[in-house]
Symmetry: C2
Subunit: 98 residues, 2 copies
């Protein structure tokens, strides 16, 4: 994966509140991540299944539709998951950081 | 369920682009909806499972965290799912309506 991606990762990492970034393939294999000292496969496994579940749901509503972005807010974090056919990028951030 | 909810539903329905509204219990049973002539249980079944999957994922990241809002954007629609312990409200809208 090109150095462009590294540049993007570096830029996103410097945004306020960004905690974790994971890039995985459309099949759920981790490609790049800022997560250290944790079992990355636990994240990719769970996120991959969520991506499939959301895609399935979007197709239930309209078979010709495709999900592009999933965003969920919890008490502590905000998670963004951008999807296309080849890659899934996940950003976990703390929305309360000023 | 009180007439307050009916008022809220009516107000949300009149917002531009809002297509479908579904309120279901925390167990996935439909309570109120604007969906007509369609099998509502197909929606509630799929949304309920998604809600559980997101909650599970949030707990994977932090066991003490709880999901509050899920939002996903597809090519055609935008879907919002607000969760608390008792109810789940789902709004499906067309974001391109001016």
């Amino acid at each position: 994966m090109s150095s462009d991606v590294d540049e993007y990762l570096k830029a996103i990492t410097q945004c306020k509140g960004v905690d974790k970034i994971i890039i995985m393939s459309g099949d759920g294999f981790p490609i790049k991540t800022t997560v250290v000292n944790e079992d990355i496969t636990q994240y990719t496994y769970t996120f991959w299944h969520l991506a499939k579940k959301v895609q399935q749901l979007v197709k239930t509503i309209d078979i010709n539709d495709d999900v592009r972005l999933v965003r969920f807010r919890s008490k502590k974090n905000e998670t963004l998951m951008a999807l296309d056919n080849q890659y899934v990028m996940i950003i976990i951030q703390n929305p309360k950081v000023e």
